[in-house]
């Protein structure tokens, strides 16, 4: 078995469990940080250094910093988070949905191993240059559609945050 993969997969699963069970907000965020970094290590293992760097820069370096900022703004050390979802109906629904999700992931994993056989990586796989070529040549339309989606979210955010002038 692949020791490197197993190590970081185990770390990310354990850290993920810690993230959702920790009652203290900041340690929970640190758990999420561990998940992000071990995922980046897995990307490195898959010959995708650029993706690994993006994972660290964007998720760990920007999004999580924003979350931590909100935690520090709204809570103080020693505050514990609320009890888990007390509503039994919601908890039941959550359990059913997570089982379905797990099944879907299982099907996807099975499907991938059927479709994709082990093969030689093309030359320059995962380098920034090839990444850019793919994104701005072959998948330009998708890229632009996503950017419009982000723009819409941005405009919506500004509209919601804007003070009423009248």
């Amino acid at each position: 078995m692949d020791v490197y993969f197993l190590l970081f997969a185990a770390i990310s699963v354990v850290a993920g469990l810690f993230t959702v069970t920790a009652k203290d907000a900041l340690p929970s965020a640190m758990g999420l940080l561990t998940v992000f970094i071990s995922l980046a290590a897995l990307y490195l293992h898959l010959n995708a250094p650029l993706l690994a760097i993006f994972q660290v820069t964007i998720y760990a370096g920007a999004i999580l910093v924003l979350m931590v900022f909100v935690i520090m703004l709204l809570m103080s050390p020693g505050d514990e988070m609320q009890e888990y979802q007390p509503n039994v109906a919601y908890r039941g629904l959550g359990a059913i949905l997570s089982v379905i999700l797990l099944g879907l992931v299982g099907v996807a994993v099975k499907g991938i191993s059927d479709v994709v056989q082990a093969r030689q990586l093309p030359d320059g796989f995962g380098t920034p240059g090839q990444f850019g070529n793919l994104m701005f040549k072959d998948f330009l339309l998708h890229f632009e559609v996503v950017s419009i989606l982000l723009l819409v979210a941005l405009v919506g955010g500004i509209y919601l945050a804007k003070k009423d002038v009248n």
């Binding site: 820069t57 370096g61 910093v65 520090m72 050390p77």
Partner: protein, 346 residues
């Protein structure tokens, strides 16, 4: 096997070198501040007080290590480590000279020349904030939390223009490798200027140096530890060597940022108008390129000290206003103009 040994030597060398520089910088900071304020500064321990950092180190190591009773023990211990770790790992992709030939073997003076070197620095640099946040939160002290809060807001704000400026230099040189960027700065630009980044990106350099000071939490951007408002910010509760790690990490950060400035904007190891490799033996050239590079870095390290003791601290809203209303629009305009020029000239 031989390559592994060389890599190990390089890692150990740059690690030790960084530590020595950080140590000397504490002395430079104190003597420099004294010079600027017309005082003498520490001058008793050794010649010119040069052994002062050693005395400081012994003091920090032998002091009682106090953990506040109400602190979160794990986070409190983790904070300084999380702060120092990214600081020490960032230098891995920055060159410290061109190349040296020893025993017929060519050795690049850089730990790792990776094709995503540039982005690696951005990624590692964005991790430094966690050390401050974790330490501030773990201390369970209102001043520490305010320091952590300020540092997150400041880092998010200044990482945007910092990243855009880095992107602009990537556009100019067309590579992510810091070594290739250094090599591209040889020769002259427009016939009479050295072919250095600053002449191609003057606005970029100004933006970079301002955001670098903010990233390193240095005056005038040291709001996370503003002593006139929040005691000592995120490290209010820290003492002994834990505090030492925070202070040390700051100097290591400064060293990396100064090396980055030299690599991107001041021709790395190249002397203006003179190609050293033409008339020096390969071995001497290696040493010379290292010394030239370090001389430039030393100037920028001194600039950090110089600015700290001459420029007063900003108010908090001024820091945010400068970041969002001045630096980001300027960085975007710089990016746009550079993209236009690159498109029109290639």
């Amino acid at each position: 096997m031989n390559d592994w040994v060389i890599a190990l030597i390089k890692v150990v060398f740059i690690w030790t070198w960084t530590l020595i520089i950080a140590t000397i910088m504490t002395w430079v900071e104190r003597r420099g501040s004294a010079m600027i304020q017309d005082r003498l500064g520490p001058n008793r321990a050794g010649p010119f007080g040069l052994f002062q950092p050693l005395a400081d180190g012994i003091k920090l190591f032998t002091k009682e290590d106090i953990i506040p009773e109400k602190a979160h023990k794990i986070l409190f211990n983790l904070g300084p480590i999380l702060f120092a770790l990214p600081a020490f790992s960032a230098y891995a992709v920055v060159p410290f000279g061109d190349k040296i030939v020893i025993g017929g073997k060519e050795i690049l003076l850089q730990v790792a020349d990776v094709n995503v070197g540039f982005l690696y620095i951005v990624a590692v640099g964005s991790m430094a904030v966690y050390g401050i946040v974790v330490g501030g939160w773990g201390s369970n002290n209102k001043y520490s939390i305010l320091g952590g809060l300020r540092s997150t807001a400041q880092l998010i704000s200044y990482e945007v223009p910092w990243g855009i400026v880095l992107l602009t230099t990537v556009m100019v040189y067309g590579t992510f490798s810091l070594r290739e960027i250094s090599l591209a700065q040889q020769g002259t630009f427009l016939g009479f200027l050295p072919n250095w980044g600053i002449f191609k990106q003057p606005l970029g350099f100004i933006l970079f140096i301002v955001t670098a000071y903010a990233e390193a939490n240095r005056v005038p951007f040291d709001l996370p530890e503003a002593e006139s408002e929040i005691v000592a910010g995120y490290h209010t509760e820290y003492g002994s060597m834990r505090l030492g790690l925070y202070l040390f990490g700051e100097y290591v950060n400064m060293y990396t940022l100064a090396a980055l400035m030299v690599t991107l904007f001041f021709g790395a190891w190249h002397l203006p108008y003179v190609d050293m490799s033409k008339f020096l033996s390969p071995f001497a050239y290696g040493i010379a390129s290292f010394l030239v590079f370090f001389a430039k870095v030393a100037f920028f390290l001194w600039l950090f000290v110089w600015v700290r003791w001459t420029v007063p601290r900003f108010r908090y809203d001024q820091v945010m206003g400068l970041g969002w209303k001045a630096l980001i629009p300027l960085a975007l305009a710089n990016l746009f103009i550079t993209a236009l020029v690159v498109q029109l000239t290639v």
